[in-house]
C-alpha cells in the first residue's frame, strides 16, 4: 500500500517563498509544506530576527521524475540567493 516517493527539501531565504511556489504552480505540484527556520550557510548567519534574515524550509513529496524537474527549475535561484536543496527517499502512506 505504501508508495515510494522522493522528498525534496528546500532551505531558502523567506523572501523566496512566493517565487518557489510559483515554480510549483508551473510544474503542476499541488502539495507542499512550509515551516519557518533560521540557520547559517555560505551566505552567513541568518538569525530569523526579522523577515530579511529569516529562512523557510519547503518540503515536497513527489515522484522521481518530478523531483528532477523541480531541481532544474530551482537551479537559477542558486546563484543569487541562499538556497540548499536536498532529496531523500520516503514511503507515502495515503
Amino acid at each position: 500500500m505504501a508508495k515510494a516517493y522522493k522528498l525534496v527539501t528546500i532551505f531558502c531565504e523567506a523572501v523566496l517563498e512566493p517565487l518557489v511556489i510559483r515554480e510549483f504552480d508551473k510544474l503542476g505540484i499541488v502539495g507542499y509544506t512550509v515551516s519557518d527556520c533560521r540557520g547559517r550557510g555560505t551566505h552567513g548567519v541568518r538569525s530569523g530576527n526579522w523577515r530579511m534574515s529569516a529562512n523557510v524550509r519547503i518540503e515536497v513529496m513527489c515522484d522521481l521524475a518530478l523531483s528532477d524537474r523541480l531541481m532544474d527549475a530551482l537551479q537559477p535561484f542558486d546563484r543569487d540567493y541562499g538556497l540548499l536543496v536536498v532529496r531523500s527517499d520516503v514511503e507515502v502512506l495515503n
Binding site: E13, L19, G44, N49, R51, M52, D80, Y81
Partner: protein, 324 residues
Amino acid sequence: MVFDPIVLFFLLGLLAGLSKSDLKIPAAIYEALSIYLLLAIGLKGGVELSKYPLGQLVGSSAIVLAAGMLIPVIAFPVLRFVGRLSHYDSASIAAHYGSVSVVTYSVAVATLMERQWQHDGYMVVYLALLEMPALILGVVLARLGDQRDGQGGGLAALARIHWGRLAHEVFFGKSILLLIGGLIIGYAAGEKGYEPIAPVFKEAFKGLLALFLLEMGLVAASRIAAFRSYGAFLVGFAMVMPLVSACVGIATARYLGFSAGNGALLATLYASASYIAAPAAMRIAVPQANPALSIGASLGVTFPFNLFVGIPIYVWMARTFLPG
C-alpha cells in the same frame, strides 16, 4: 539633552546585539510593531489631512517628489564610479537612500514635539509618497546596465522588467498599503472617530516606538558585523549622503515656503534610508545585489547616524534657513 531619550533604546539594543546577549525580540513582535507604526502614522496623517484642504498639497507634492528623485540619481553614479560597486549594488543602495524610513521620521517628529516646534501632521503624506518611486527608479537603474542572458542592456533591458509585478509589489506592499490605508481611514474617521482609538494609536505611539528602536538596535548589531568587511567607502557614503539629501530637503522646503518644523521633517525624510520596504522589494527585483551592503549601510550606519547626529543637524538647518 541634545537628542530625545528614546534613541537610547536603540543603543541598548545595539549593545545587547554586539555583546551577544541572549536578548531576542520574537520575529512576530517585530512584525506586529512595524505594522502598528505604519498604521499609526498613516492614521495620524489622515486625521490631520481631514482638517486641511487636500488640494493645497497636490502642487507641492509633485515638487517634493521630483526633488526626492534627485537623491538616487545623485547616489547611483557616486556608488558606481567613486565606490566602484557593481552596478546592481549601486542601484539597490541608491533605491534605499531614495526611499524613506518611517522610524527616522517618527523620531524627528518626537524631537520637534519635545522642542515644542510646530509642524503639520499632513507631512506624512510626503512620507507615503516618497516611499516607493525610488524603488522603481532603482529597478530601472539596475536593468539599464543588465547584460544578463546576453540580451543586451540599455533601454532594451527595460522591456524585460515585469512592470505588472513590480507595480503590484509597490502598491500592495505592506508599507504602502498600511500607510495609505491608515491615511484614508484617518481621513474618513476625522478627529471624532479617531478619539476612541487614540489610546492605542496615539498615546501608546512613543512607547511602542521605543520598543521598536530596541529591536532595530538588535537587528542593526547583526548587520554591522556583516558589514564591517566592506570597507570605508560605504561607511563614509552612509554618513555623507544623508547630509547631502537633507540639503536638497531644506532647499525644496525653502522653495515651497515651508515652516521650519515642516522643513526639518522634509529634510529628515530625504536624509533617511529605507529598511522596511526597500530591502524586501530589492531582494526580489534586483537579486544580484548583495543585501548585506544596502542593509548594512542604511540600517547599520545611516539610521543611527540620523538618530544621533543627523536629526539635530537638520533641525538646526531648518531653524537657520527657514522661517520660524
